[in-house]
């Protein structure tokens, strides 16, 4: 059964619309900036919670930013589609933070202000942020949440595709969102993996990552659904694979075991050869460990003919659970616009693997197949393969 992508939406430090994000990538304008408030280089979404709530005329309740960022992307993606009783429509959202942004505010303020409303805590768990999103979208029925750290977004997309393939759904709105939280900012800080400047994925002198926030959603449909909705496919999702590195809770294996299993799994599922892949949107966080592991995996899967690849995290920052979905949208756009996306700040190849990412925006690139990689804590690895729709 074929799975079609018929809608996309993304919000990141590059903007609130697909077009804004694309223009920034095309012109090489990064969204990563110094934040006085956070004392870090971060990829922050410009809109405040208040401005999003105003824009969508939301009730004055304590929304998690996870829900609000997801709402922007999901609304754009869903567009003018309507819920109809004849099509089983589901929502699968990914997040690592869930309502952590609200909960940490409760937690820190509760210590000094015992009257601080308990209601804030009611937004805490991941499922609740998705339930609220479903509520705002008017969706019911199958509503799920996936949380596998930084591969969550990709796994939500994979899960939606499988639900359609197994006949549990006809359409699935799939993606993820994560806000910047003190918890995660301090957490990645405690791992000492921040680049004090804008990150340099795949560069020999890379120092680490920048945190980002964002949300992205894709609408997946079956053939039967297409007949009924009349939607025009943007592209097809022809491969997906999840595997585990089983090496360390946070570090990736130096040989890129998990990553090579998932990339190979996608090729096998789609029935294509390694040479047919025209672009890889890499996980490429800019940490010493990830980029070494990922390039080792690329060499293992593609041999001496590594396809053009780049990490877009030098533009958006690492948007955690949203990253897999944000980068899936970028991969879909690479196919639609037939272009290769640049990898920011690359100058010197890594001595260990000696691979050169794409450094400038390239048009007329003949992108038939685009592969998107996402890796997370727990050794969780996922690759997705998108194909041009003819």
């Amino acid at each position: 059964m074929r799975i079609f992508v018929t809608g996309i939406g993304v919000v990141s430090a590059l903007g609130d619309t697909v077009q804004q994000n694309w223009n920034a990538l095309k012109t090489g304008n990064t969204g990563i900036q110094w934040s006085d408030r956070l004392g870090l280089m971060v990829g922050e979404v410009k809109q405040t919670n208040e401005s999003i709530m105003r824009a969508y005329a939301l009730p004055q309740v304590d929304f998690s930013r996870t829900t609000l960022l997801a709402l922007i992307a999901a609304k754009t993606c869903w567009g003018e589609n309507r819920l109809v009783p004849t099509l089983k429509t589901g929502l699968v959202a990914a997040t690592s933070a869930g309502g952590l942004d609200r909960m940490e505010e409760y937690y820190f303020r509760h210590k000094t202000d015992p009257d601080f409303v308990m209601n804030t805590l009611m937004t805490h768990d991941n499922g609740r942020t998705t339930d609220r999103l479903a509520n705002l979208l008017g969706m019911n029925g199958f509503v799920g949440t996936i949380s596998t750290a930084c591969s969550s977004g990709a796994n939500a997309i994979m899960h939606g595709a499988r639900l359609i393939r197994h006949g549990r759904l006809d359409r699935a709105l799939v993606g993820g969102s994560d806000p910047l939280t003190s918890f995660n900012l301090k957490g990645f800080g405690s791992l000492m993996i921040y680049d004090p400047d804008i990150c340099k994925p795949f560069d020999a002198n890379r120092k680490g990552l920048n945190m980002g926030e964002g949300g992205a959603f894709l609408l997946l449909e079956s053939e039967r659904s297409l007949v009924e909705t009349g939607n025009k496919p943007l592209c097809e999702l022809t491969g997906w694979c999840n595997a585990t590195d089983a090496y360390h809770q946070t570090a990736s294996s130096p040989e890129g075991v998990g990553a090579s299993i998932t990339m190979q799994g996608c090729l096998r599922m789609a029935g294509i050869t390694a040479e047919q892949v025209n672009y890889v949107n890499a996980h490429g966080t800019g940490t010493g460990n990830n980029d070494l592991s990922e390039t080792a995996a690329l060499k293992k899967v593609f041999g001496v003919k590594t396809p053009p690849f780049s990490s877009t995290k030098g533009f958006t920052g690492h948007t955690l659970a949203a990253a897999g979905a944000v980068e899936a949208v970028f991969s879909v756009m690479a196919i639609l616009e037939n272009a290769l996306l640049p990898n920011a700040n690359f100058t010197t190849p890594m001595p260990e693997t000696d691979l050169l990412p794409v450094t400038t925006f390239k048009e007329n690139a003949g992108v038939e197949y685009a592969l998107s990689n996402s890796f997370g804590f727990g050794g969780n690895c996922t690759s997705l393969l998108f194909k041009r729709h003819h």
Binding site: E104, D125, N126, G127, D131, A149, R168, S190, A246, G378
Partner: protein, 312 residues
């Protein structure tokens, strides 16, 4: 599809104890969780970063593999509402205490929701499919849907289960359930799902998840109808609820003597429907005749309904 192994650590004598369903007593506020000797299942050198919830999940995993007589599962799928909640709290406390200074990373590293499934994979050295579903009271049901699909895709031995911990101020369940007078607690249950038959011979017929639930009765009817069953053909209904309307509806559509509130025995935690599934497996094995059916009706959050159907 068969449930080839089931293992639960809870407040009841569930662990490695077939027939436990006849020994259940309602929980009181002072009933303790029954921890097995974890040293029997996890080498001491592997436990230094594990807290209780991780030890519970890994121990149930080991037990399941022993029961199913296999070394490795082909997939690891876990449902957890709160993930490693205690590590989240520990790290928040560390942020607070550090006051801008250096913070030790271990609690952060272990605080993600997929730590349970991730640590199981590390413990087993297992590189297969590994997913964590985290949707409050439906976390386990979502994991089970995924597991059924995995078996349908040809994976022969799928490890699926759920674990949640509570007991600190980050957990809102107490607030949510305050009218229930239930013991808010922790639990872990794991299962091996397979297409291959076994001596256990308990079938998992169907599972589904419903959010923004509009009509409990109509939803149950539709679910049974798609499995070509009538209300009368269900022999027992294990349910959870946070308001009395659920029990009233179930009493009306099934017979009152068929329905059992499993939370009285499991205590309140978001994935206690996994406890209920083990209870159903044990009841079907010990007390039922072939063909008997148990429906698990998880309505712990009024808007969210999980349905699991099992038969002998």
């Amino acid at each position: 599809m068969f449930i080839r192994a089931a293992s639960t650590i809870s407040h009841q004598p569930t662990f490695r104890n077939k027939g436990f369903s006849s020994k259940l007593l309602p929980l009181t506020p002072d009933t303790a969780l029954i921890h097995p000797d974890y040293g029997m299942f996890i080498p001491p050198k592997d436990t230094r970063r594990l807290n209780d919830i991780l030890k519970m999940a890994i121990t149930c995993t080991s037990d399941c593999l022993l029961q199913a007589e296999i070394d490795q599962p082909d997939a690891i799928i876990v449902g957890t509402s709160m993930g490693c909640n205690e590590f989240t709290k520990t790290f928040l406390d560390k942020i607070h205490a550090a006051n801008g200074g250096l913070i030790a990373p271990t609690a952060f590293m272990l605080s993600t929701h997929n730590t349970i499934a991730g640590q199981v994979s590390l413990f087993l050295g297992n590189q297969s499919y590994n997913i964590t579903h985290t949707h409050n009271n439906l976390s386990f049901e979502h994991a089970l849907v995924d597991a059924m699909m995995a078996v349908e895709e040809g994976k022969q031995r799928v490890l699926v289960g759920a674990a949640d911990e509570m007991g600190n101020e980050l957990y809102d369940m107490h607030e949510r359930l305050q009218n229930n007078q239930l013991l808010a607690t922790s639990g872990a249950s794991l299962f091996i799902l397979s297409d291959e038959g076994s001596s256990v011979a308990i079938h998992l017929i169907d599972v589904d998840c419903y959010s923004q639930l509009e009509n409990l009765e109509a939803t149950i009817n539709d679910f049974l109808k798609r499995n070509k069953l009538t209300l009368e053909e269900v022999n027992r209904v294990l349910f959870s609820a946070s308001r009395s309307a659920t029990a009233e509806t179930l009493s009306r559509i099934f017979q009152t003597e068929k329905i059992v509130d499993y939370q009285v025995f499991s205590g309140a935690y978001y994935v206690n429907s996994a406890f209920a599934m083990h209870l159903a497996v044990d009841l079907l094995e010990m007390e039922s005749k072939p063909g008997e059916k148990v429906l698990i009706c998880n309505n712990l959050i009024p808007n969210n309904l999980g349905l699991i159907l099992l038969s002998r």
